[in-house]
Symmetry: C2
Subunit: 352 residues, 2 copies
Amino acid sequence: MPTLTLPVFTTEGGATLYEVPVAYETWGTLDADKRNVLVVCHALTGNAHVDEWWGPFLGPGRPFDTDRFFVICLNIAESPYGSISALSTNPATGQPYGASLPPFTIRDTVALHKAALDQLGIQQIKLAFGGSMGGMQVLEWSFYGDFVEALAIVAVGGRHSPWCIGWSEAQRQAIYADPNWNDGHYAPDVPPAAGLAAARMMGMVSYRSHDSFVERFRRDRMDDQPGQPFSIESYLRYQGQKLVDRFDANCYVDLTLQMDTHDVARGRGAYADVLRAITQPTLIMGIDSDILYPLTEQKELANHLPHAEFRLLTSLHGHDAFLIEFDQMCDALQPWMDRHVMPTLPSPVAAY
Amino acid sequence: MPTLTLPVFTTEGGATLYEVPVAYETWGTLDADKRNVLVVCHALTGNAHVDEWWGPFLGPGRPFDTDRFFVICLNIAESPYGSISALSTNPATGQPYGASLPPFTIRDTVALHKAALDQLGIQQIKLAFGGSMGGMQVLEWSFYGDFVEALAIVAVGGRHSPWCIGWSEAQRQAIYADPNWNDGHYAPDVPPAAGLAAARMMGMVSYRSHDSFVERFRRDRMDDQPGQPFSIESYLRYQGQKLVDRFDANCYVDLTLQMDTHDVARGRGAYADVLRAITQPTLIMGIDSDILYPLTEQKELANHLPHAEFRLLTSLHGHDAFLIEFDQMCDALQPWMDRHVMPTLPSPVAAY
């Protein structure tokens, strides 16, 4: 995966870091003006490989039309997938930052990505699009003025609610309860695996819905045997272990804290006023069964953003529908892009 | 608190226990026929002190009319508040059962309570009423035929959904991640407190709703200071510690597993058929903001039980509304009791 290095980056909190890596993936061709850019923002445990999780959006003739757009997804700060995180080497010590990494806000991640785009010479973003934590970044991109022409978000609000902070904090406490946590000072081969797995299990339930679990798992037990675990228990344990195998506990804690910083109005004025000042055309999609970021949050955004359109996604699958309901999202996204994004594009890049 | 001892009790799983305590509280006077009985069933971390959590129902002229009813609430099996649990002394060893207590089902709790009522000479229950895990017991009481004349439940379904089992299991895993857990073998003064607190925090979020937290906590921080924890975080930590101070981790794990056994149809036939065979007049209340036991569950019951009435409770407070919205519950309960329960009562007990 391509990775660039920023010589220096200073966080909102005032911490200055050196030799800061930013990993990213791209699709399509950057045109001569470097303005045909579509930024895709990934969520909590995601990565820059858009093809792995939003593949149906990507390709010729699709919303992320690789014949016309230069599509880029940058790995977020504090994620273990290539950008600056607890796993990165602190050049001052030659050791991984671990628990010593300064905290990042959503604004920091977007500022980091802006610096990376600057290094790549990019002059303008035609569309920033993301769901969940990715949508938080999109909303922060709006504050870069003319640099960002249009926004699309799904399953997020303008600020992280106390409800979501509560879910985050309960998950963190499960990690903290693991003796291997040790305030984030653990050896790579002795991670707080049980705590991280429990946190993930909690998360995995909150991402879905009552009805989706009823449909999928019923009260079935493993091997159809009384006394065996319920299928849902087995599924969650598997999902917990799967995250332990691919993620780092410091990164998980850091990222959940980063989400908790999300508030477009922080330091900018009254919430409604700040929303009203977001002037880009914005497509806002919400999921009817999302318990984490319920429709009230998207409707609040749609009511305040002056150039917003709201589209309802109907799904059994709760918050995770933003990674599932491709047809509905495409049906909302494509005509909206045809009106608000495509006309601003230069002519298609000649493929010869 | 009064406690009786059953000489012997055998669980559904076939475990036989001796000298089994059942703690209970009563209000009002048992009439000569011993048929003016109203059984109140308590929930997960509740206890037999109905006056502490459903006080507004209790007293002369109220639904739990102590001039007419003998109101009794029995502490459930596996709860730390007086009935048989991990904290009870195993007469065979003289030591607390701890992790060696055989598992109890909801049916076991109700069978235990039936045996206790038998020992008290009670001939009939006019009404069994409970919410959440208490409602699970009420539904099981229906299978005692003429012994139970009417049922009222709030915020529960006919079987514990995979959604709720998922929440339970994630909470248990947080406890298991605590090094002091040790498969339930811990000294009373070295409990898995951090894990139990994390589990409780998870539970406390799931019992409420997005909108209730927004209304109460917003994104306020402690002492209104940046860098301080969010108020919701502080609240949840306090709630976690509060449960640690009053509850036992084995009991918590055991009780969540007991809830997971809830399925009125288990071994009795097809679910819909089993529900249709519940012939008592039944009042079913559901809460519009309950994410754990959503209205679909109560409506499913109301659609199948032949003598059911459904009443919607409107509340910001999610599942916990069953411990909050007294006025709405009284408004539903009293007229329904006037039609279905009061006419079956003997004349008021003469007070002198």
